[in-house]
C-alpha cells in the first residue's frame, strides 16, 4: 500500500474523497463546503472533482442542513453534512436527537438514517466565542447515535470511512487544534478503522489514562514526562466515545488499578463521569485510587486570552496523574 504524509484535516478530505469516488450515493453538504472548500479546507477540491450536485453549498441554516440530510438518507443517499463549527450544531440539535437518532427505531427499521455529521471541534486555535466548544457528552447521551473523535491522521481517514459506511447516524467531531499540528502516514487506498474500538497509545503498568481527540497528544507527552519520574502510564485513546469501548477500558484498568480521564469538555456531566462509573461497576475491586478527572472547567469556554488556562495542559495532566498514583 502506498501512503501519503497527511495532516489530520487532509486525512478528512482524503477520507471523503476516497469514499465519494467509490460510492455515488455519498455527498457532502453544508456552509462553504463547495467552491471555498470549507473554512478549514476539509472539502478542498471536492467541488471541482464531484460538482455541485455532490458537494453542495447550502443556505445558512443548520437545522435545514441536517434535516434535509435526514430526508436524503431515508431516501437512500449517504449525506455527509458539515457543521461549520461544533458550536453551531445546536440549531440542528432537534433534528439530530429527535430524528436522526430515532428514525430506525421509530420505524422498526423501515427507514434508516445513514448520515455522518462532521464538525470541527474543540478549543485552542484562538477563535471567537462559540468556536471552541466540546460538547460530545450531549450526543453520547442520545441513544441511536455514534460519536467519533479521532486524534491521528491515520485514524481519521479510517474512522471517517467506517462512519460513512455505517448504517446509522454518526457524529464525527474533528479536533481542529490538531487539524494541522502534525502529519502522519495515511494509506492512499481505502481502509477502515472500526467504530467503537479504543487504541492503546502507550503501554504502562501504573495507571491507565483514557483520553481522545486533541487531548491525546498532551496526555502522551505527560506520560513521557512522568516516565522520567518513574511513573509508567498507559494511555488509551478511546477514538469512539459512543459506544464506549468498555472492554478496553476495563481491561486496562484491571491491569493498573488506577485511572485518569482527560478531556477538554466541561467536567459536570462530561464523559469522565461515565467512564468512572463504568470502571467502578466493572472493576471496583481493582481500584486503588479515585479516578482523576482532568477536564475543562465548568465554565463557558473563555475568549482566547484565557483559553490556554481552560484547556487541560500537560502540567495539569501530569498533576492529575500524580494525584492518582500517589493516592
Amino acid at each position: 500500500m502506498s501512503t501519503q504524509n497527511l495532516t489530520l484535516v487532509q486525512a478528512v478530505r482524503d477520507g471523503l474523497y476516497t469514499e465519494m469516488k467509490q460510492d455515488d450515493d455519498v455527498l457532502v453538504m453544508g456552509e462553504d463546503v463547495g467552491k471555498n472548500g470549507g473554512v478549514f479546507r476539509a472539502t478542498e477540491g471536492l467541488y471541482n472533482e464531484f460538482g455541485d450536485d455532490r458537494v453542495i453549498d447550502t443556505p445558512l441554516a443548520e437545522s435545514g442542513i441536517v434535516g434535509t440530510a435526514i430526508g436524503m438518507a431515508a431516501y437512500g443517499l449517504k449525506p455527509v453534512p458539515e457543521m461549520q463549527f461544533s458550536g453551531f450544531m445546536y440549531p440542528a440539535f432537534d433534528q439530530i436527537v429527535s430524528h436522526a437518532a430515532r428514525l430506525r427505531n421509530r420505524s422498526r427499521g423501515r427507514f434508516t438514517c445513514p448520515l455522518v455529521v462532521r464538525a470541527p471541534y474543540g478549543g485552542g486555535i484562538r477563535a471567537p466565542e462559540h468556536h471552541s466548544e466540546s460538547k460530545e457528552a450531549f450526543y453520547a447521551h442520545e441513544a441511536g447515535l455514534k460519536v467519533v473523535i479521532p486524534s491521528t491522521p491515520y485514524d481519521t481517514k479510517g474512522l471517517l470511512i467506517s462512519a460513512i459506511r455505517d448504517p446509522d447516524p454518526v457524529i464525527f467531531l474533528e479536533p481542529k487544534l490538531i487539524y494541522r499540528a502534525f502529519r502522519g502516514e495515511v494509506p492512499e487506498e481505502d481502509y477502515t478503522v472500526p467504530l467503537g474500538e479504543a487504541a492503546v497509545r502507550r503501554e504502562g503498568t501504573d495507571i491507565s489514562v483514557f483520553t481522545y481527540g486533541a487531548m491525546s497528544r498532551p496526555t502522551q507527552e505527560a506520560a513521557e514526562n512522568l516516565s522520567e519520574e518513574g511513573i509508567d502510564v498507559e494511555v488509551v485513546d478511546l477514538r469512539t466515545v459512543s459506544p464506549l469501548d468498555e472492554a478496553a477500558i476495563v481491561e486496562s484498568f484491571k491491569k493498573t488499578g488506577r485511572a485518569a480521564v482527560v478531556h477538554e469538555a466541561p467536567r459536570k456531566g462530561g464523559l469522565a463521569g461515565e467512564i468512572t462509573a463504568v470502571i467502578q461497576e466493572e472493576a471496583l475491586l481493582y481500584q486503588e485510587a479515585p479516578v482523576e478527572r482532568i477536564t475543562g472547567f465548568d465554565v463557558p469556554f473563555p475568549l482566547y486570552a484565557l483559553e490556554d488556562y481552560y484547556l487541560p495542559s500537560v502540567a495539569r495532566i501530569e498533576e492529575g496523574i500524580r494525584n492518582a498514583v500517589e493516592f
Partner: protein, 367 residues
Amino acid sequence: MSTLQRDPEEQVQVLDENGGVVGEVPDLGDDELVEMYRAMRLARHFDKRAVSLQRQGRMGTYPPLSGQEGAQIGSTMALDDDDWMFPSYREHGGAVVRGVPLTQTLLYWMGHEDGNKMTPDTNVFPVAVPISTQILHATGAAWASKLKGDDEKAFICYFGDGGTSEGDFHEGLNFAGVFDTPNVFFCNNNQWAISVPRERQTASKTIAHKAVAYGFDGVQVDGMDPLAVYKVTRDAVEKAKNPGDRRRPTLIEAVQYRFGAHTTADDPTVYRDDDEVEKWKAKDPIPRLEKFLRETGRLDDESVDAVTQSVEEQVADAIDEAESVPRPEPSEMFESVYAEMPDHLREQMEDFEQLREQVGDEAFLRE
C-alpha cells in the same frame, strides 16, 4: 391556466357549501369520485371509533381529524403511486389512501412502534410529532430524488397553521426554493393550534403569502372542498414533476376547520365558541361532496348505505385485528436502536430480561 398562479388571497373552490358547482370539476372518473366519497366516510367513521376507543381506555391519546377529510382525501388522491407522503400526526385519513392499513394507525396510537413500520412499498414517512420537523425530511427526500434523477416523483408534506411558526418550516421551504425540489407543502390551516388561533400565529395576511419569501407559488384553497383540493394538489404535483420546465415546489394553504378536540386530551370549549364550530360545520366536506354526487347521479340512497356498511365493517375489522395483536415484546425496545446492538445495550437487555424472568411482568406493569 394553472390554479397556482393567482393572488394568494383568493381561494380556489369547485363546490360551494351546498355541493353546487362553482368551479371547474377536475377530470376524475365516476369511480374515483365515489372512492373519494368513500374514503372521506371511512376517515370520519374511523375517527369516531378511535375517539371512543380512547374514552374506553382501549387506546392512548388520539388526535381526531373530523372536518379535515376534504383536505386529506382530496390531496392524497391527487398523488401518483410513486409519490411520497410526509404526514404530521393527524393524517390517518390520507394515509389510508396511500396504502397504510387502518390497523397500523390503530396500533400506533395504541403505543406500538409497529404502527410506524410501513411496508417497504408504502412511501409514507412515520408520524411526525415534533411540529414541522418533517418538512425538512420532505425537502431532503425530494432533493435526493432529484439528485438521483428520479424524475417521476413528487413529495407531499403536511403540517398545520401553527406549524408555520417554527423555524423548520422556514428552513424547509427556503431550501426547497433554492434547490427547486419537487415538493408540495400542504398546510392544513384548521384555524387553531390547540388553543391558539390563526391570528396569534402570524400577522401574515394569509399563509399562502408566505411562499413569497421562498420564491415560489403559494395558493389558498377551500380545504373543505375535496374537489378544489384535488385540483390544486394535482397542479402542484404536476409542476413538481414538470419534465420540460424547472421542477418547482408549491405551498398550498387549505383553509378548513377541526370539528373536534385537538386530541382526546383537549377540551376545546375552554377556548372557542360553539357558534364558530357551527359556522364551520356548515362547510362539512362530506355532505358537500355527497350532494354533488347525488345530484350528478353518481350516488343514491342505496349506494350511500352500501358505503356506510362497508366503512363500518372495515373499521370494525381493523379494530379487531389491532386489539388481537399482542403487546410488543419488551426486548423490542432494544432491538432497533442500531443496525447492530452494541455491547452495553445487549448487557442492559440481558440484565432486564433476567430480572423479568425472576420477578415476572407484573412487577413492571403499573395499573
